[in-house]
């Protein structure tokens, strides 16, 4: 591993540590924490500090040290986890994240002077005798020593017992060479000679020495196991007490060493192998260690290659099905099996890429805290369903839209404490962020108990901004969706939080790019619920294969509401626009044949779709050929972005078909109609 790779591992560990630290602090804030919670936070911050020191990230190390000093107060019991203190520690946790981000992205360090001063005041207890000297290097060094001395066992040395068996001497696996290798790893060795029999009965064929090695915490278990990799069943190893986690792939773990005790030594007063020096309670963690090692880190590119291959298999399977259709009567069952296996393979590969939304949800309390502080509002956020898993790439891209939604909810949705009390609500506003899995899709909802969308104001602002005409007849839903329009803002002033009318536009755009959609349910005075619906993956989607003239097109299943036959009874011409009368509700018809210049037959099929920008519309096609999974190939990667085309796929007959960007097609068609 080179230095850069080691740093990447460090940054990953920092992320994990910060999630752990924040979770612990939030538990303390909620009054649910105990001494172990504080210890866990302390350990997390300490590990960041240790790594930062090893890599020479001085700013990060210095801040982590200061943060750690403040945490030590709680740990030692010299200060209670009062709300004010925990809030300061939460802010420090956020700053720690900023420091990590700064060194990772090689940016300048964040401005932490004020926060450092606040932490110093906390550490000095506001007492004049220490203030001003707390930052002196000598003081810091002394403090560090004290903290290092108080380190929990997890970060300390660990032990392994090596008991060679008789076969080791017989097979030429000289144990002394193995001990030498352990010493090279930094082990301190002691030898238990109590099993050596008297000289009178000396037998050179029996192994009677037993060694205890103490290893630094930085040496992983796998490194020790590697030393004994080729010993087979000639040496008995036992790991005593806590053993450091190991990130080496499980595949490289050597075969388990034998657990049978060696033969009893002749006249030996004590039997080293039968009586390992580890206390009984230490045996459990030693056995549990391999379980911790079952997780591996894999380069994402390798997973992406695997995923691409699965995509190709999906295509090949559908090509095979197409070729065999009508030719081989007995192939149906086999094809069914192949189809099931392909889907299972795909699900399993997707599961590898899947990541809990907790990775992004965990960052949201910080957003809430920051916006609440700036706006002077009191806000609690409840998070649920954060174990819901999504494609890693989707999870990563969710951070931005969720941040905007939360800022919007706190800034615009929730009232200030006085207004809430006047409205008969508790002064503290409540946000609920939840995720769930339903019908093969992921739902993420953000609900607030604020004032709801002021539709009169939104409409007036939209007219003022020229987004809609003054005489436009809009449904509540359409008015609500105006907040996603580019440049729309009801904020009177532009602030750090909102007012530029950019955020919500970004939300809609990002969700759309992720192949999802966003809807709003808002009730005046009661609050709003934003629901983001996402496909499980960006690479494979359920879709309808449709015929338009001589072309075969693919329409993603997600926006499709229903399909119906295009009979004259349901179609009505209004001006130049053909409309579908769908249970007494008129929705515009978008003729895909017309857009493609191929024309459509009179007896086509109407596919009713739900769009974010233009509400419902009916896509008119000649026929629906199939409903199946398609592998989405990005045109941008292979060609260039094409308006109204979301991508391309390869059909069973090898033909390339474009995937319709439903949102864009409907918006474009309606815009043309309006212009005409």
């Amino acid at each position: 591993m080179n230095m850069e790779e080691l740093q990447q591992v460090f940054f990953l560990e920092c992320e994990e540590a910060m999630v752990q630290a924040e979770a612990g602090l939030l538990a303390l804030e909620a009054g649910a924490g105990d001494a172990e919670t504080i210890n866990a936070v302390f350990r997390a911050v300490h590990s960041v500090k240790g790594g930062a020191g090893a890599f020479g990230f001085g700013g990060l190390q210095a801040f982590a040290h200061r943060f750690e000093s403040a945490l030590a107060l709680l740990r030692e019991g010299s200060r209670q986890a009062e709300p004010e203190t925990v809030r300061l520690l939460l802010v420090a946790c956020d700053m720690l994240a900023d420091h990590v981000g700064a060194v990772r992205d090689t940016r300048g360090p964040p401005d932490d002077a004020e926060l450092m001063a606040r932490l110093d005041r906390l550490v000095s207890g506001d007492g004049p005798q220490v203030s001003g000297e707390a930052t002196a290097p000598g003081e810091a060094a002394l403090d560090l020593d004290a903290l290092l001395a108080a380190l929990p066992p997890a970060a300390s040395d660990w032990h392994v017992t090596i008991a060679p068996l008789d076969q080791a001497l017989a097979n030429g696996n000289e144990p002394v060479l193995l001990i030498r290798e352990l010493a090279r790893l930094g082990a301190t060795i002691t030898c238990d000679t109590s099993g050596v029999p008297p000289l009178a009965v000396f037998d050179a064929t029996h192994a009677r020495l037993c060694w205890h090695a103490t290893l630094p915490a930085s040496v992983p278990r796998a490194a020790v196991e590697e030393v004994f990799e080729f010993c087979g069943d000639t040496v008995r190893l036992s790991f005593d007490g806590a053993v450091p986690d190991d990130i080496a792939p499980a595949a490289s773990t050597p075969p388990p060493l034998p657990v049978s005790p060696p033969p009893a030594p002749v006249q030996a007063p004590a039997q080293p192998a039968d009586a390992p020096p580890a206390p009984p309670q230490a045996a459990e963690p030693a056995r549990a260690a391999p379980v911790q090692n079952r997780a591996i880190r894999v380069d994402l590119q390798k997973l992406e290659r695997l995923f691409d291959t699965v995509g190709e298999i999906v295509i090949a399977q559908s090509m095979l099905a197409q070729h065999l259709r009508g030719h081989a009567s007995g192939a149906g069952e086999c094809l069914g099996m192949l189809d099931a296996l392909t889907r299972e393979l795909q699900d399993n590969v997707m599961a590898i890429r899947a990541q809990p939304v907790a990775a992004v949800f965990s960052r949201m309390p910080r957003v809430v805290r920051e916006v609440a502080e700036v706006t002077g509002k009191a806000v609690n956020i409840d998070i649920s369903g954060d174990a819901t898993e999504l494609d890693k790439l989707v999870v990563e891209r969710l951070a931005e839209p969720l941040t905007h939604l939360i800022r919007n909810a706190v800034d615009h949705g929730l009232e200030d404490p006085a207004a809430r009390q006047a409205a008969g609500k508790p002064p503290t506003g409540r946000l609920q962020l939840a995720a769930g899995h339903r019908n093969g899709r992921i739902y993420i909802t953000l609900a607030d108990d604020g004032r709801g969308i002021d539709r009169t104001r939104v409409r007036a602002k939209a007219i003022e901004a020229g987004l809609v005409s003054a005489d436009a007849v809009l449904t509540d839903e359409e008015i609500d969706h105006l907040i996603f329009a580019p440049g729309f803002s009801t904020a009177a002033q532009v602030s750090n939080i909102s007012g530029r009318g950019v955020g919500m536009d970004v939300v809609r755009q990002t969700v759309k790019e992720l192949g999802g959609r966003i809807t709003i349910q808002s009730q005046p005075g009661l609050g709003s619920v934003f629901t983001i619906t996402l496909p499980l993956t960006l690479a494979i989607a359920d879709a309808m294969v449709v015929q338009v003239g001589a072309e075969t097109l693919v329409v993603p299943l997600l926006p499709i509401v229903e399909t119906l036959r295009a009979t004259p009874a349901v179609l009505r011409l209004m001006g130049k626009r053909q409309m579908l009368n769908l249970r007494d509700s008129f929705i515009p018809v978008v003729d895909l044949g017309e857009l493609h210049g191929t024309g459509t037959s009179d007896d086509g099929v109407l596919i009713v779709v739900e769009t974010e920008t233009a509400g419902r519309a009916a896509l008119r096609v000649d026929a629906i050929l199939d409903s199946r999974q398609v592998v989405i190939k990005s045109l941008e990667h292979h060609y260039r972005a094409v308006p109204s085309v979301a991508g391309a796929t390869i059909l069973g007959d090898g033909q390339v078909a474009v995937i319709v960007d439903v949102e864009a097609v409907v918006a474009q068609s309606l815009a043309w109609a309006k212009a005409a």
Partner: protein
């Protein structure tokens, strides 16, 4: 393997000075005879380690038993012997050794 010293006899045999020269390789084949020689030499035998280049676990066991049961003492341990004993946590066998 059968090195000699001016005032000492064949390796593995007790001599008048109660000193035994340890072989270059303190490994299994040599050990039974060496164990018998040490026992025969009686208490307080000096084990001359200056020729030792290699030592395995069985050899270490012999030295442990000899020092413990025959009150044997290592003399002039070679660098290899000294390093191996210290490495293997048996540095106490060197205590009282003569250079």
């Amino acid at each position: 393997m059968t090195g000699q010293n001016s005032d000492q006899s064949i390796i593995g045999q007790a001599i008048m000075t109660h000193s035994i020269i340890l072989p270059r390789a303190l490994c299994r084949p040599e050990l039974p005879a060496l164990a018998a020689a040490i026992q025969h030499a009686g208490s307080g035998v000096a084990l001359d380690g200056q020729a030792v280049e290699r030592i395995g676990q069985a050899g270490l066991q012999l030295l442990v038993a000899a020092c413990r049961d025959a009150d044997a003492c290592l003399v002039q341990p070679s660098a290899a012997l000294r390093e191996t004993l210290e490495l293997c946590g048996l540095g106490h066998l060197l205590m009282g050794t003569r250079p």
